[in-house]
Structure formats: structure tokens, C-alpha cells
Point group: C2
Chain length 597, copies 2
């Protein structure tokens, strides 16, 4: 069987006929960036051929690559179907992403559904051969319990600890184990997964763990993963489910090991996630989320047996999935709205989670209205020429003065790309200094005098203008097309914002607070948000950041029966407005494309 040797990973993989190189690399867990999921439209999945031959380059592939790159043997792995033994190197290293694990939380009373009690079980005798099941019911004062607990447990007598979920027995343990009671709160994002190990006796968060969502190999965003599911009807549901379930199991294992806790003492896992991630988690067909009329299979909360989807904890451990509102207002947003107590609020609050989709919830005296805007991946650094996610080496902030360009880079490293907050900061500066006009067009270079400090910042690339962030062989820059990507994102969010206000009949000045949630939002400065016009100038001083409110909501649900109930009520009461179906939205969107305030 032909082999592919990846030199800088010192790893050999077998050649599989008819598969492209990208697929093979990803299946072997070798990291190659591929925002478009191998569709041949992003030009990111570069590798370098060191030895051997590959079939000739297609025109499309040629278009993506610079001449120097082609000369040095660089190819796009998604276009390449190897025919013989080759040696290659991969060009990206997987970098540590910055993941937000904390945030605001209101005070609440701890009152978990999970609790333990000890009992004495009678020893059977020849005269009283009671079945173990019956002795247990008698001792515990219950009528019945899930038969599957009998599979896990040997007959025992004497002291026994029962684990209960409300009134349901979910665990039987020999001896007194009441001291050992743990749970896990999780936020599954499309990009990152964050988990916290909780001591359920006290509510203390013992530690957190985070990782990139391993479903990324099936596509970086929700829609690409749904497309993957659609195009692979055989086993894609299982593959997507296994990827996330294994990731969660791994994180739980890691966290438990840190504290020397046996994971059989984990009794509940509480999860918030967007609607698609929740479908994938439960192994449920998510394809309807991807096409009009965007009706999901389910939105209601689920309180089920964790083992039924392969999660490893106590054999009877529960899995609580927070409820969603619609396909594009998921449990992560419901969790956030609950953490911000939007439903109890007496003023006008706006909650925004900015990501590939921007979700906005407006609370008008506790009445909730939500919408979702297709912002696209630009604000997360994707689909941008020099874009990357927020990781070491990413430009996250920019200041432009007459002295030049000052970059702030994550990890204080040499910059290798620009992430979402960097893009937005750059745009804000470009608009401020007038290099980008309010309609989004770069000004013509000839309009600048040569002595102007801005003159050298614009370069021409075959008549196309670009703003150079960093010169040299590994040039970093922002093109006109990049600006258009950000402009579309901006238009989507701002128009959603206005549409909600209009629907609720609220004036912008009546807003009391804007709460920015999420991984990515926390990195967007109020300056950038307002400077680019994603949010209007008027709200600048009302912006607060609430952090990972999705994980916080999962934590609250874990630790409180009332929180679960209230979260479910909140989801039920939240109205959802489908922007695409609302009148005059197209016109509003076009108006909102204008940059600046």
C-alpha cells in the first residue's frame, strides 16, 4: 500500500485510493486548517511536497496559490489525490486557543436534584429469599427503579448508599459514599468546548477544561457540518456524535484525574450548546436546521441517561440538555438570557452573543424577543486573507498613528495572522484615519500624497488595493474583499439589532444595558464595536461583558432544580423573529452596511 510520510510530524500514513490528501490527513488527526471543509473555496489547506510526484495542478488550485508558493512545492491538500509514495510537510501548527471559561453569575440558592442517602438492606435468608430488587425498594421506600441499575450492581446487604435524581433512584453504591457527589457543567460551542468539574455538595467549581470542538474536522461552522451530515447519510450522525462525546469524556477524565476523583461519582452532566451542536450531541438528524424553513427536530430540554449517548460517569448519571428556542436561538443563548436574568428585568436590556451567528435577545420589561443574524465567520477571523482564530500569534488589536502601525499580538509573539478582534480593530482604525470609506471601499492610492503617513500602508496587487499589516516574506494584509466580509457581518448584526427594537417599539435611547456574551464577544472592545458601527455610538457606555454565560447557565441548571424550571419557562416564553421573513428587512440590511457612526 502506498505511503505518505509527513516529515515534520514524523508520521507515516497509508494511502487510500480516491481520497484527497486533506481527508486522509484529518482522519489521521494531523492538523491542517480547512475553513471550507475541503470544498476547495478557502485556499487554506496548504502543504508542501518534499519528495515524489503529484498529479498536475488544476486551474482553481493555481488561482489560490502565489507564484512563489507554487515554485516552493506548495499545494492545496483538498485538491490533491496522491497516486504514489510521497513525502510532504504540513505548514500550520495547531496553536493554543484562548478560551473563556468564566463570567458573570447572579446569586442563587443551591438545590440540586441529585442527592444521596444511606440505608440498611436486610440480608436474605433461606426463610426470606427476597430478591435484591425488592429488598432495596423496601429499604429505600420506593416502588421501583430503572432495571438497568441491576446490571451494574452485585447483590449486597448492610449499608448501601442510594443516589437519587429528585425521587428517582439512579445509583446504588455499597457502603456510605455520601461524601462523593460530583457533576459537570459544559458549554459546547461550534468552535470550542468548555467544561467545569463541580463538587455538588458545595457547588464549588474544582477546575475547568477546554478544547477545540473535534467536530471541526467535519467543517468549521454549523452549516458546513450540516452539509457534511447531508452528504454522508450513512454514518455521519454517529461520527459527529462520537467526536463530541469522546471529547467530553476526555475532558471529564482529565479533570477527575487532577483531583483523584473516580468518575463513577459523577452523577449529572449539564450542557448548554447551540441547537445544531445539541442535535449532534444526541445523535439526532440536524439537516432540517440547514434549510428553509429551518425547523429543528427538537428544542425542549432533555433530562436523560448520560450513558445512553456514551458519556462516562456513574452508570445511572443524568444528562441535562438545556432547552433552545429555535434552530438559531439555542440553549447557549437561553442560558445566557437566564444568567443575565433578562426575564426578571424591569427595563430594556439587550443581550448579544457575537460569533458566526450573532444572536440578539431584547428584554422589554421581562418580555423576551430574539433574533439571529448570519454574520458569517469573518468576525472570528475566518474567510479573511490573513485571518486566523484567536490563538497565539494572532493580531488582536491595532493602533494606527502617524508613526506607523502598532500591533498587539496574543502571547506577545511574532504575528502570524489576524483574529476577529484584530480585524475589527483594524477596520475601526482604517475608517478613523480615512483609508476605508463609510461605504467600505478603500480610498484610491492616488488620492494620497506620497508624504502622507498612510501612503505606504496601501499596496497594489495587480490593481487590487490592500492594507499591509506586516511586510516581509510572510506578509499580512487586509484586502478589499476582507473588508466586504466584515461589512456583511456588521450589516447583519446591526440590522438585527434595529429590527428587534422596531418590533418591540423601543427607541435606541431607551436601552438600559447591552450585554455582550461569549468567547468571542469578550475580545471585542466597545471602541471597535462602535468605531466600526456594529453598534451605534449611543450605546457605547451601556456595554457590559458577561463572559461565558452559556457555561454559567449550565452550571446553574446543574446546581438548582428551580434554575432548570425557570430556564425552561424562559425558553418557552422567548419569542423568536425570523429576520428573513420580516417585512422590509432587506432594505434595513442594506442601510446597515454603512461603516462608522
Amino acid at each position: 500500500m502506498p505511503k505518505i510520510f509527513i516529515k515534520n510530524k514524523n508520521k507515516t500514513i497509508d494511502y487510500v485510493s480516491n481520497k484527497d490528501l486533506l481527508q486522509m490527513l484529518l482522519e489521521n488527526e494531523i492538523f491542517v486548517d480547512n475553513p471550507c471543509n475541503g470544498k476547495g473555496s478557502c485556499g487554506k489547506c496548504k502543504i508542501r511536497l518534499l519528495e515524489g510526484n503529484l498529479p498536475a495542478m488544476s486551474e482553481t488550485e493555481e488561482k489560490f496559490l502565489k507564484k512563489e508558493e507554487i515554485i516552493s512545492g506548495i499545494r492545496l491538500s483538498c485538491f490533491v489525490v496522491p497516486q504514489e509514495d510521497i513525502v510532504i510537510e504540513v505548514l500550520q501548527k495547531e496553536r493554543k486557543h484562548e478560551i473563556l471559561t468564566t463570567g458573570y453569575m447572579p446569586s442563587f440558592e443551591i438545590n440540586s436534584a441529585i442527592h444521596k442517602e444511606t440505608f440498611e438492606i436486610d440480608k436474605p435468608t433461606l426463610q426470606n429469599q427476597s430478591a435484591f430488587e425488592d429488598s432495596l425498594c423496601k429499604a429505600f421506600g420506593i416502588e421501583k427503579f430503572d432495571w438497568r441499575l441491576l446490571q451494574q450492581h452485585e447483590i449486597t446487604d448492610g449499608k448501601v448508599t442510594g443516589v437519587f435524581n429528585d425521587k428517582d433512584l439512579i445509583g446504588i453504591e455499597s457502603g456510605d459514599t455520601t461524601d462523593l457527589l460530583y457533576g459537570v457543567a459544559i458549554d459546547i460551542g461550534t468552535t470550542t468546548v468548555v467544561a467545569a468539574l463541580i463538587d455538588m455538595k458545595t457547588g464549588n467549581e474544582l477546575t475547568t477544561a477546554s478544547m477545540i470542538n473535534p467536530q471541526k474536522k467535519f467543517g468549521l461552522d454549523v452549516l458546513t457540518r450540516i452539509t457534511y451530515e447531508l452528504e454522508n447519510p450513512g454514518d455521519s450522525k454517529e461520527k459527529l456524535q462520537h467526536a463530541i462525546v469522546n471529547a467530553i469524556n476526555e475532558m471529564i477524565e482529565t479533570m477527575c484525574n487532577q483531583f483523584n476523583i473516580d468518575r463513577k461519582y459523577i452523577y449529572e452532566i449539564s450542557i448548554a450548546a447551540n441547537c445544531t451542536m445539541m442535535h449532534f450531541l444526541l445523535g439526532i438528524d440536524a439537516t432540517s436546521i440547514g434549510k428553509s424553513p429551518y425547523a429543528p427536530v427538537f428544542v425542549k430540554s432533555k433530562n436523560i441517561r448520560a450513558k445512553d449517548i456514551g458519556l462516562k460517569g456513574s452508570p445511572g448519571a443524568r444528562l441535562y440538555c438545556l432547552p433552545a428556542v429555535s434552530s438559531y436561538i439555542g440553549a447557549d443563548i437561553v442560558a445566557g438570557a437566564y444568567v443575565c436574568q433578562l426575564q426578571k428585568n424591569s427595563g430594556n436590556l439587550l443581550f448579544i452573543d457575537i460569533g458566526t451567528n450573532g444572536e440578539i435577545v431584547l428584554s422589554k420589561n421581562g418580555k423576551l424577543l430574539s433574533c439571529s443574524c448570519a454574520a458569517g465567520p469573518a468576525l472570528e477571523g475566518m474567510n479573511i486573507s490573513s485571518g486566523m482564530r484567536a490563538a497565539e500569534g494572532a493580531i488582536e488589536d491595532i493602533e494606527i498613528t502617524e508613526k506607523g502601525i502598532e500591533l498587539q499580538v496574543i502571547g506577545n509573539e511574532e504575528p502570524i495572522g489576524i483574529c476577529g478582534s484584530g480585524i475589527l480593530a483594524a477596520l475601526k482604525e482604517l475608517i478613523r484615519i480615512g483609508l476605508v470609506k463609510k461605504d467600505g471601499a478603500f480610498i484610491k492610492k492616488e488620492k494620497l500624497e506620497e508624504v502622507d503617513y498612510r501612503y505606504d500602508m496601501i499596496q497594489l496587487d495587480e490593481k487590487k488595493r490592500k492594507f499591509v499589516l506586516k511586510s516581509g516574506p510572510e506578509q499580512l494584509f487586509i484586502t478589499q474583499a476582507d473588508v466586504r466580509q466584515v461589512q456583511l457581518a456588521k450589516g447583519a448584526i446591526l440590522s438585527g439589532f434595529y429590527a428587534l427594537l422596531k418590533q418591540a417599539n423601543i427607541d435606541m435611547n431607551q436601552l438600559d444595558k447591552i450585554m455582550i456574551a461569549g468567547q468571542f464577544g469578550a475580545h471585542l472592545s466597545a471602541d471597535s464595536l462602535v468605531g466600526t458601527g456594529i453598534l451605534p455610538e449611543e450605546v457605547k457606555d451601556k456595554i457590559v461583558y458577561v463572559g461565558n454565560s452559556s457555561k454559567t447557565g449550565a452550571y446553574m441548571a446543574l446546581m438548582s432544580v428551580e434554575a432548570k424550571k425557570q430556564i425552561e419557562e424562559l425558553a418557552n416564553q422567548m419569542d423568536y423573529m425570523e429576520l428573513g421573513a420580516s417585512e422590509g428587512y432587506e432594505r434595513l440590511f442594506v442601510q446597515c452596511l454603512q461603516f462608522g457612526n
Copy 2:
């Protein structure tokens, strides 16, 4: 890797070091009789070495084999650990066993918990993006259902058929499928498994299937299988479970294929079995059944998801396991007692299921008392010199006259062994003609005159007497030890019978009917039962045969909610008497060893 070639099966298996030949053959599904489950105590697992060498014979092995056998290369496979390539032949062919699939059934009203209804589901729109789960609940008028149904089903609208178990939704099918509604009723015996495919719309039994319980490779009787479980704590529970689950799936597949029915239209599987088989079926530890005080893990009925133990039908199909009373009064006996309507009876009835264990239920005006007697396998043809199970070639009846011995053989073939009913018939005749005395001893040959027609029937084998059924090189005979085995079985059953009567304060003459149930019981003639003294002369005319009442009970539970309820009540109300713990039982047992009436 060394190979073993089994010439008369034309099959080669790999040699596994340190394993004995019997194990390897059984693991490769090659039939070798092994009543003692490889313990080296039965001497039945003979094979013949054709080529190659085997380690020398141990003394124990030598004891089991005749000189001629040793000369012709015969070995006991459980003693043999091959060290090099060999060619062998196996000596037994797996014969078609006679399996009883029918029997008596009282009339009852068909009213199954499973039913279907069709509904119209609204198509979602952009304005109304209702989740599929919610649209379905609304259309079906239900609050919620098992989330796992969402895994199986794509979003659909228009006409949909709901499958209900009472009020619980257990299936969602596109279009109108109300015509397709099937179930399966099963009796799992330690030796044989019988299944019936039922059209649940009408209650018609479409066909039946039966097979030897594949757990036989882990031991022929309940206790040997429990010992196997105990000695292999790693995966024995799973292996035992998989064996029976796969067998059931195979039988369902076979029956469905006969009628071109897709097994996804099977919605309930109803099973009666003894307590140990039920534990194995559900993958629950049965070891406590094997040791004092014989307390099982469970006896209550189970109404669970069939898929949870790997049974294949509709994804939401139910598995109903009938209830047991105790470790040794299983659901098979409860089913039988229900089929015979013991609980509704106004006289005194006795229900007996004779097998390795003899279970007896006495109904005194509807009040039920039961006991279980350890009869041992003799009455099933096992642990008997020339014994075999009821299969083609087994002697099933015998008549001895002055003209000689007349044998009745199953399948009218050349006799190759004697089964339980044959042993019992032989004993009855030996007692009648005086060759076996009431104390169970053969009369001394010297007490017979040479002209006596019985003289040649007794032969001496190194001073030990035996009764020759068939002479020649493949001699069939009954030894004094064989008689003792039957005697122990007889003593166990008769003493149980008397103990129950005594406990209930009933005189034998007050019995109105004796109902003989089961596979094996149906082959025991009243003549034999009374002639050997297993049952007293007084009840001879009161004996009736009810057939496979275990399967019939499973069928009734499948087809009637009331039957399920009544069966559960019956199990609850049936008292159980542990013979070993009852006063004076030892003395009674000794008295009951006496043969004849």
C-alpha cells in the same frame, strides 16, 4: 499457528495454546456433547484422533474409555491440550430435538397494550418553525415521549402513524402503517428456546421457531452456567446474554422471512423463562441463585425497551419479561400456573413441570403454594450411561415381555441412546418384572434361573450388574448407578409433592387434577410416572398434559393487558416453600426413594 482439521466437518480451526480441545471446538460452533461442561466428570466428549500426536492419556481419562475405544484413537476432548497439528473427527452429530411448541390455553379477551393510530402533522413554515418533537406532541395529543425515537426518525409531515404502548409513544412511522402490527412470544428453557410470531391485530400465531439454547456451550444445566459465570467474572455475563439475544434475533429473523415481514414492525416481545435464564437475558448477575440462601437479584416483571438488551425489532419495541416467584420458581412456572388458571380454581389442583428441576404448584381453592425439587438431569437423559436428550435415535419407550425387549425409538431409527421418558419407561418395566427391587437394587443374577426370560437381560461387568437394552458393539444399557440417578430424581419430586400436600393440609385423595407441563413432561406417560412411583397410584386418572404452558403464558401476556396484570398478581400471591429449610424434609425424601406403588 498450529491447525486442527476436523475431517468429518471439513473444517480447520486454529490451535490456541493452553486451551483444551473441547473449548476450541465449542467456540468454533462444532458440536461435541459435554453434559458436565468440560469438568472431566461425564466422559461424553469423545473425539477420534486420525493423524498427529497428542500428549499421553491421564488416568482419569483412561477410566472413562473402553479398551477398544482407546485402541481406535478415541480421546475425551476436555482432557486433551493439543501441542501440534492434528486431524480429528467428532463422533456425535447434532440431532434434531423434539421440541414442544403448543399446548392448552384458556379463552381470554384480546386486548394488547400495543396499538397504532394515524395523525396529520403540520408542515413547518418560516413563520411557524415548530420543532418536529413539538408538532408531533401536538398532533398526537401527548405531553412527551422517549427522546430516543427522535434519533430514529427524520422530520416528516403529513400522515404519520404513532405506535403506542398503552399511552406511551414507542414508534413514529411515515404514512399509514396500521396494518402492520406484530409481536413475538417466547419460552426460554435451559435446554430449548421456542418462539412464536404473532399477528397482534388478530392474535393469530403465524409460525413458530425453536432451537437449542446456545448457552449450552457454557453448561447444560442452570448450575453449571452459574458456575461458568462465577469463574469468569470478566465477560461471562455479556457472553451469556449475547448468546441468548442472538438466538432470539435469529429466530425472529427466520420467522419474519417466512412471511416477508420487516422486523421493524415487531413492537413487543414477551418472554417467559426460569429465573436464571431471565437474569442471563437481561445481563444481570445470577450467581446468587446458585448459592444459599438462593436469593435472586430480581423476580418482578420487566417492561423495558427491547433494544436496550440488543433485541432487534421496531427501535422502540418493548420487551416484557414475565415475573418469577423465587430463584427456583421462575416466570415459566408462573406462566404455567396462569395458563392453568390455578388462581381462579375452586378445587385442589397440582401443577408439575418436570425437568432438571421439578417445580410443583399446589392450588387449594385458588391459594397457591409452590416448591422446587432438585431432580437432577437423569430424567432428561443426562448423567446416564447410555443417556441422551430426546432426539432422533433416542429410545423413548420400552416394553419387556417374555419374548424380549421392544424398543420405541424417536424417528424410528436405529437406537443410539435412551432419553428421559425411555429411562423412566425402562425403570417402570424393570420394577414390574422384578429385575429392579423397590429399594432400587438389581436382583442378583444367581437368583434367576437360566431358563428365565430375564436371565440374559442382566449382564455382569466386572461384578457390576447392568440391564442390556441393545447388544452388539454399540451396546446400550442401564447400570445400577443409572438406576440410582433416577431414584434420586424420583425421591426429589415425590417428596416435594408430599411436602406441599402436608403444608396445605390436603390428603392425596382430595386432589382433583394433576397438570403436567413442559417439554419433557409431555413425554412421560402416566404409566411410567405411576409405575416408577414418581407419582402415587391414586392420582393416575387425574393426570392431564398442558404442553408448553410457559410459551402460552408469554403469548397471553403479549395479547392482553389484563393477562399481564393477573400474571403479576399471581406471582405476588404465590407462596414458596424452600424444601431444604422445611422440617422433616430429609426423612420424607428418604422415604420417597422407594420405587413403585
